[in-house]
């Protein structure tokens, strides 16, 4: 069990680290990298919103194609981009999309295209409408396909944003939109300290391992891990106190001004206008 925790923490850490810090593509000189983060953020959010409310397959397919073209234009290898996008789709959508293929869930009476099982009598199950057969319906397939495509569209778009924008720049874009200060400060500090804290957890796990002789039982191992959690809590609390003092020392008075260095120029406004028009078109269709 302890090995499991260690491996999980290690891998989660490694994944986030590579996702956040492998800012390789955000440093490339591609199309999206040249666009101001604020314009990019609005356009991407607009397109996602449009994809979420749209009911037309064409809209999804257009947006997905568009994001592939943008990825290519931003010097992101298409293979890498597709893996980043597709890796999450089955996990997040499968659970929701698969049941809706069948007639026993909504919509109850669709056009059946494939009967899976036929029962001799009506089956009554709690929470479900009584049914005598299980079949895949045409409406169900279309609904599931639209759902999966909708999620894929959203994920492709957000992945584009994340891959082509540095986190610090994205955060200052959030700040310039006058989001509630608390929200942005918390995001900032999370971004700053999450790796430090995960590193502490890992080194605590290793130090435990280096001193553990023989096999430890599951219960015992859980107890030890609980202590690590407690120690981490105390450490981070203590650290937050000191960080606060360090802020006070440099004149912190509750406000959190930021450095916005870039100015939106013509190409950013053009991108913004184009993106918003497209979003509007997608939403209207």
């Amino acid at each position: 069990m302890s090995r499991f925790v260690e491996k999980t923490v290690g891998e989660v850490l490694e994944y986030i680290r590579s996702a956040v810090f492998s800012e390789n593509y955000s440093k490339e000189k591609g199309l999206l990298q040249k666009i101001d983060a604020r314009a990019k953020l609005i356009v991407i959010l607009g397109l996602i919103f449009s994809a979420v409310i749209s009911r037309r397959l064409e809209v999804f397919i257009t947006f997905i194609t568009l994001s592939l073209i943008l990825a290519k234009a931003s010097k992101i290898p298409v293979g890498y981009y597709l893996t980043r996008v597709l890796i999450f789709i089955p996990v997040f959508t499968g659970v929701i999309a698969i049941p809706s293929l069948f007639n026993i869930f909504q919509p109850y009476d669709g056009t059946e295209i494939l009967t899976v099982v036929r029962f001799n009598q009506e089956v009554v199950l709690p929470l479900l409408k009584p049914f005598s057969e299980i079949a895949i319906t045409e409406e169900g397939v279309i609904w599931a396909a639209k759902f999966v495509l909708r999620v894929t569209t959203a994920v492709s778009l957000i992945t584009l944003l994340v891959l082509t924008t540095r986190w610090s720049v994205l955060l200052s874009a959030f700040r310039s939109f006058k989001l509630p200060r608390v929200f942005v400060v918390i995001l900032n500090l999370t971004y700053r300290y999450i790796f430090l804290l995960t590193d502490i957890v890992l080194s605590m796990l290793y130090s435990k391992k280096s001193r553990a002789i023989g096999k430890e039982g599951t219960i015992k191992s859980w107890r030890l891990n609980a202590r690590i959690v407690a120690a981490l809590f105390i450490k981070s609390y203590d650290m937050s106190e000191r960080v606060y003092l360090a802020m006070i020392s440099r004149g912190f008075d509750g406000s959190f001004p930021y450095m916005q260095q870039s100015k939106m120029v013509l190409k950013d406004y053009l991108f913004l206008a184009g993106g918003l028009l497209l979003s509007l078109a997608g939403a209207m269709l």
């Binding site: 610090s168 700053r192 003092l245 802020m247 020392s249 440099r250 004149g251 916005q260």
Partner: protein, 305 residues
């Protein structure tokens, strides 16, 4: 000379108990003061009191301003923060922004100056520490020495008169440590008052005009030479002497005649040059009948004081 800090009968208690009691201390403008003491002696707490972060009991005066609990909470502190900067021991505590530039700009941004001026100041501080290329990095991706330099830059960008440094040489490699000591002395030559808390005794001769020995209270105060030649004090305060000084103690056992034990490399060079010049072009060392017993005595003193 003008007084920067004046502390009289100052004490501080954490919920767990007293850390500092009966502290009397004066720091003058342009001085380099080192506060030395073992772990847990209260050095960090004392620096935080000097930085107006912790409300202490007793009389704490900074630039003719009484720092009591009421003042610490008032707007007057704004002026104080412009004049005093503290470099925390743990750079991870000091660097809380997503990029190095954001962090270095954090102080000036609270000074009510224009954004251009903020940027200019931040860049100047980065240049002063020779770390312009780290500007866009995330603090997590910096090495220990780089983090320390950025931490100092975050204070320099405010351009304070007084710089307080908490264990600045801790966990630095020898080269970074050397550079840091030079940087601190450059700042001192520019007229800054520098207060350093450390237990790095080898750095003291290079960083201090005056030394305060602290162990929950002020045990002694004097020049580095006065402190390091006071055997009783060293024993009581659990302090070591600088390596250079030890070496010359060893040389004395071999018959080297040294009036004034050198504390630093510079002093050692001067001392050796003088000896060579006055003693006919060479240094004479030999083993005499007491050499071995003296060496034994010396070694046991280094081990236990």
């Amino acid at each position: 000379m003008k007084k920067v800090f004046e502390l009289r009968n100052v004490s501080y208690r954490y919920p767990a108990g007293a850390v500092l009691s009966d502290i009397n201390l004066d720091i003058y403008e342009g001085e380099r003061v080192v506060i030395v003491g073992p772990n847990g002696a209260g050095k960090t707490t004392l620096l935080q009191i000097l930085d107006g972060l912790l409300p202490a009991r007793g009389h704490v005066k900074a630039f003719d301003m009484l720092l009591d609990e009421k003042t610490l909470k008032s707007d007057v502190m704004y002026e104080f923060r412009k004049r005093v900067g503290l470099v925390f021991q743990d750079p991870d505590v000091q660097l809380f922004s997503p990029t190095v530039l954001d962090d270095v700009a954090f102080g000036p941004m609270h000074l009510n100056i224009s954004k251009d001026e903020v940027l200019k100041r931040a860049e100047k501080a980065l240049r002063l520490m020779g770390i312009e290329d780290l500007k866009d990095k995330h603090p997590y991706n910096l090495s220990g020495g780089e983090k320390r330099k950025v931490a100092i830059a975050t204070v320099l960008s405010i351009d304070p008169d007084v710089i307080l440094l908490d264990e600045p040489t801790a966990d630095l490699d020898p080269k970074s440590r050397r550079e840091l000591i030079d940087t601190i002395n450059t700042l001192s030559r520019k007229g800054k008052t520098i207060v350093t808390a450390t237990h790095d005794v080898d750095a003291i001769p290079e960083l201090a005009d005056r030394v305060y020995v602290l162990n929950r209270t002020v045990m002694a105060c004097g020049t580095p030479r006065e402190i390091f030649t006071d055997i009783e004090l060293l024993k009581k305060a659990n302090l070591e002497i600088p390596q250079i000084m030890r070496l010359f103690r060893v040389l004395e056992c071999f018959g080297y005649n040294c009036e004034k034990l050198p504390l630093s490399i510079d002093e050692a060079i001067a001392e050796l040059t003088r000896t060579v010049e006055t003693e006919g072009g060479h240094i004479h060392l030999h083993i005499h009948e007491h050499t071995h017993s003296e060496l034994e005595k010396l070694k046991s003193r280094f081990d236990h004081h």
